[in-house]
């Protein structure tokens, strides 16, 4: 049995958070300003390394599939993490159904180039593409942005061709995502004519449309992830045409006590009482009480960071809270738990 944190979202309630962040669509102006997350066609999920970006991408895909959508979840770093969250073997560039309604692929810029050449230039036969791919690998290094275009372009293409209802991208970490999302615009500025130029035009149309494309930033209620998320929100606004659709705060610890409980806890911790408790329980309860103190302290530190996040983000931006999962391992079971938590936060 895995014990999932109860009182989900209670991080937002209690004395520390009088107004409390709520799920999508309930912030001021959010109803009209932001289309529901699952109604988008292309969602990039990013975040500082180690905050659970992949877990959230998988949970989002799972939830969308449960809602009856055909979902493509794409891995950019090709580590096989996404598929393992569905208990499936790694996928390659060709999408494969890994769970009902969920297809998975991993990005491979060379394969993307092949597909691109085949589709747009009608350059025949795979055999002859060998040296050509090498040439373009070179050009991609020489002309920065080409690799990014091939990556982002593939996702946009899937959206345009409507093979899926929703494309979820397990995108690069927050440090890299801006470069990737800004690439079409950068290329557009650099390249005035040619095929690439005409390509970036329609890609920009999709990326810049807040009804189709959105970015989800994942963080944890810890100092650096919160700071980075605030910086990311600003950079995305200033440097890209993509809209930040939601911030997901992962690993929110359950609130152990209210004020009254805390008073009682202190009474129980009192010297005489602790001994009586230990006697009655048949062993020293001191480590158990110590662990509770640790849990309370951790949560308190995190609440402060959560508050800073809320204060720093634009009004009306949905902030979704996911509970800390006290789970033994991460796999299909936790993916479902994350999907359920997201569903509650989104008010589904």
């Amino acid at each position: 049995m895995s014990r999932s944190g109860r009182r989900r979202g209670s991080a937002a309630s209690g004395s520390a958070h009088p107004e409390g962040p709520r799920g999508a669509g309930t912030g001021p102006g959010a109803v009209t300003a932001a289309p529901a997350l699952l109604d988008l066609r292309l969602v990039f999920v990013t975040g500082k390394g180690g905050v659970g970006k992949t877990t959230v991408a998988a949970g989002l895909a799972q939830l969308a599939a449960e809602q009856g959508k055909r979902v493509l979840v794409c891995e950019v770093d090709a580590k096989g993490d996404v598929t393992s969250l569905f208990e499936a073997p790694p996928t390659d560039f060709t999408p494969r159904e890994i769970a009902p309604g969920v297809w998975s692929m991993s990005m491979d810029t060379e394969a993307s180039l092949r597909e691109y050449l085949k589709l747009h230039l009608r350059i025949p036969v795979v055999g002859r593409i060998g040296p050509l791919a090498k040439a373009f690998d070179f050009v991609a290094t020489a002309a920065p942005g080409v690799r990014e275009i091939l990556t982002v372009g593939k996702f946009c293409w899937e959206v345009r061709e409507s093979h899926y209802d929703l494309v979820v991208v397990d995108a690069p970490a927050s440090g890299h995502i801006v470069g990737q999302l800004a690439a079409p615009q950068a290329i557009n500025d650099l390249v005035k004519v040619g095929l690439i130029r005409s390509q970036t035009d329609w890609m920009l149309d999709i990326l810049s449309d807040p009804r189709q494309t959105g970015l989800v930033a994942v963080c944890t209620p810890e100092e650096m992830p919160v700071s980075e998320t605030l910086e990311l929100a600003e950079r995305v606004r200033a440097e890209t045409t993509v809209r930040l659709s939601a911030v997901v705060v992962n690993r929110v610890l359950p609130e152990l006590f209210g004020q009254r409980e805390e008073e009682i806890f202190e009474q129980l911790r009192g010297l005489g009482n602790q001994e009586v408790l230990s006697e009655r329980a048949g062993g020293s309860v001191s480590p158990v009480l110590e662990a509770a103190r640790l849990a309370v302290t951790l949560r308190r530190t995190r609440s402060a960071h959560l508050q800073r996040l809320q204060a720093g983000l634009p009004d009306g931006l949905p902030i979704l809270l996911l509970p800390y999962l006290f789970a033994r391992s991460f796999g299909a079971r936790t993916t479902r738990q994350v999907a359920r938590a997201l569903s509650e936060e989104l008010g589904l």
Binding site: V146, M224, S284
Partner: protein, 386 residues
Amino acid sequence: MTASQAPVAKTVGQLLAAKDIVIACGPGGVGKTTTAASLAATAVVEQGGRVLVLTVDPARRLADALGLKGIGNDEVRIPDEVFARAAARPRGELWAAMLDTKQSWDDLIRTHAPDEETREQILANPLYQNISGRFVQSHDYIAMERLYEIHCEGTYDLIVVDTPPTRNALDFLDAPQRMADFFSSRLLRWLIVPYRSRLVNVASRPFYQVADRILGTQFLADISEFFILFQSMYTGFVERAEAVTRLLSDRRTTFMVVSTLEATPVREAEFFSAELSARNLHLGAIVLNKVLPEYLRDPKTDKLAQSMASHAADLAEGLTDDPTVAARVVREVAESFLNFGVVARREAEQQAELRGTPDVLVTVPFYDADIYDLEGLLRLGAQVWD
């Protein structure tokens, strides 16, 4: 810096005493920057010498913790007063610098450009501005390049480097070699042949036909111009990139993998350790941050907590003025212990599975609060040191 005569360091302190360069690497978000800074500061207090922490993290908090207004591309010294405030006495000097990718690239061009005109043309080229400012791979390369430059100046006894956060941890290891390959490529020569002679070059013609269609002639011309300019710096660049590669595998350089015991970071750390050994690079230490305390895994306490959860009301009876709340508190406390126990056991298992053969493996406990000042950095350093 020859405090340790032992062939293999047994503590982080010994490792730092025996090496000139320590490269902290590993997944993002695990406290890499903080660990690097705290080790550099601790080295100054414990061992003395001139120590530099070279960070890529623009976080102002680190600057604050070091008592600086900000950290830039130029190295700045941490004033002794800052140590005094932390009740510590430095036996040497602590310096800090932050990697500014754009600035470092510009400096590199200034070093290698054959003349002023070429230099100005490169600095003004839109493609160059794109490469130097925006793209990640150049960041990886420039970090190692800057390390090499500082190392060659011979100003420091010890340099602790905090590497760029990258999911593909190999990127920065490969960056110098990729740079060298890139500049010695045949394709680059094709690209920089003046346009009219391309037409007679049979080998490169198909390449250009396709390239023209995709990139457009103007863009190709921009690329050409850029690389023609760059070619004048070819030899300098390749030599430099090769020297950087040599420095990384030098015996005076060691790598320190920093991670937490969360599933994803630990897997990346493991992957990274394996890659280091595959490349014959020295894995000096693995530092595991934010590790939950051991008592959470004690089976006897786990049993006790289970029984507390089911007999909460009986246990708390008569101890407080509010039996209902007391029972709830006892149950909550017990369940919380069990919850954290699950995570602690998962972490212990991750640690046991962590392969790689570092000289030193250390764990750092979960801190109640974040580190905000030098005192905090030194406290963390002391935990890791022995």
